[in-house]
Assembly symmetry: C2
Amino acid sequence: MKRKPSLKDIAEKVGVSTATVSYVLSKGKESKVSAEVSKKVKAAAKELNYQPNQIAKSLKSGKTFTIGLIVADISNPFFANIARIIEDEAAKLNYTVIFGSSDEKAEKSWDLIQFLSNRQVDGFIIAPTENSEDQIKYLKEQNIPFVLIDRFFPTINSNSVTVNNFEAAYGAVRRLIEKGSEKIGIIAYSNSLYHMRERVRGYDTVMKDHKLKVSNNWLHEIEFSDIKNGVHNAIDILLHEKPNVEAIFFATNTLAVYGLKYLDRLSVEVGKDLAVVSFDEGEAFDFYYCPLTIVKQPLGALAENAVEILIHKINDLDTKEKKVCLDTELIIRESCGRK
Amino acid sequence: MKRKPSLKDIAEKVGVSTATVSYVLSKGKESKVSAEVSKKVKAAAKELNYQPNQIAKSLKSGKTFTIGLIVADISNPFFANIARIIEDEAAKLNYTVIFGSSDEKAEKSWDLIQFLSNRQVDGFIIAPTENSEDQIKYLKEQNIPFVLIDRFFPTINSNSVTVNNFEAAYGAVRRLIEKGSEKIGIIAYSNSLYHMRERVRGYDTVMKDHKLKVSNNWLHEIEFSDIKNGVHNAIDILLHEKPNVEAIFFATNTLAVYGLKYLDRLSVEVGKDLAVVSFDEGEAFDFYYCPLTIVKQPLGALAENAVEILIHKINDLDTKEKKVCLDTELIIRESCGRK
DNA sequence: CTTCATTCTTTAATCGATTAAATAAGCAAT
DNA sequence: ATTGCTTATTTAATCGATTAAAGAATGAAG
């Protein structure tokens, strides 16, 4: 790779010291330099197509203008969309984004934090995995700015941007009830993370509030390690073991995708034999023969808030921790009833 | 942010020079240092939880172990999936990935190249936009390693990893013909990029080879600036102006998504009133009431090849340019015929 | 003709790690 | 005792940019 021109090259060309060149090229300091020299330096910089070496700048300043983004999986549309908005917001402020996928594994998440931290990212935006409390505490201790998104730990005081999972789940399941379902199953992850617990609690609570007894056959918590089979088993039980359900609430996008595919294979007709609601958008859901009622998360606001809070924190470490909880929207379509 | 311990901190703690510490901690050089000192240094490093500052390393070595990834849009599943695989492959080799979305705009692409280049990325993986030939030439001139993916410029000798777009389009449309369609429309982008031209040429050629005359109503090239309306108009013309078509070939994922939604609105039944094939996978397509016949691109191989070629080039600038063209697979489902 | 202020420019340290080269210390051979 | 040879350690330069502080040059005031 051809060596890029440095301050030194300009300095030599013009016949001044690198300090002078630096003063000319760094805004606000130009007054220190005579108009004549300034002009020559600028001309030389242009001629050589000088671009400052950000690595050198970073070493001196201790700032890299880089954000580390750690999500469960960048290829998951939910996170890919968030990543895109974070990218745009960050770019506006001259920040770049380095990303990594944790696959919901605390160990991978920790490796990523170390890895990116050694690369001196100025801060992190993290969708934390289960059992990563220690990592979050570590970041706090080290005074490394970060914002949690999508999930957070209620026991740790930190910046976070999430949605009202409890209300969202409550509202989604209430919709099923209003449309006539009484026996309702839920398929969620067996995950201790707060957002997932809240979704389950939303389900539980709305059932209780409507005096609907929940059979212990109806709550299914799937392991990340084998989502597909988990969902298939859950659906088999929900539909075929007594008391069998009239409706299913899927707690995430991915669960719903596997679920709907399997329902198709079983020739269960959604909207007729079975009512369904799900969390998250998905191109797939629009195309489904029976358009899906879903909980829509405000991805744009989620990402924008995260970047804003992070950059604030980076610029002023004394900023107090901020917890943002955003409202979701229940997009009502046909799948929540049964004809 | 608490200052992280540096070599100097260890050196002071142990009472030796930073050079000695560096020799202990950098593998292969340990033999230079006495066992006694070495032990002390290692203990101190551990105690302080020393993590080398990659920025400083990079400045010295001129290597950042960072790849710049520039795609059209990281939230597009096609690119999001590629990004994920690139991330994994890069991580294996201790590289991180910085990404940026060009939105198919040459100007944005140029800004990103400059931006990431100033951050001293070791190389780029780029899905180039239209009219970005100069940018690619610039990278060549500067001897900056890069690999083009998805698209490339036949006039510029460079690394690239693409698929056989011509054969893929040919095969997809031939399938429509074999299933009885003779009047076939195509919806593509009005884009001079080679991959798009090849897809159109595949369509043209297979029609010619089967002695099917293509009406000038049938080739629709949509602007990026207004995809949705472009697709709607195209479909209106294809279906309602004589001679109207029996089948449509969508040249990308995104075009098909808009197209199918609109067909739904028009109550056109795919697989009965109209045959359809599309490029690219999409969760949505599996769910479509009439599962879609698609051209499946080998995303894994695409990304793996790109990383491998790039890293080779980074490690040895004299490596000859490599052009990889991968085979696609036609996934045959129901949408390509009409009952 | 000093003296002091002002303006412009350079020197040199710094960020954190690496590494060639210099130095120091220990020991053996003559 | 001198020389040479190892081995262990330090010194100092380097990567590229920034910036406080020192220095030089000019001019004005006394």
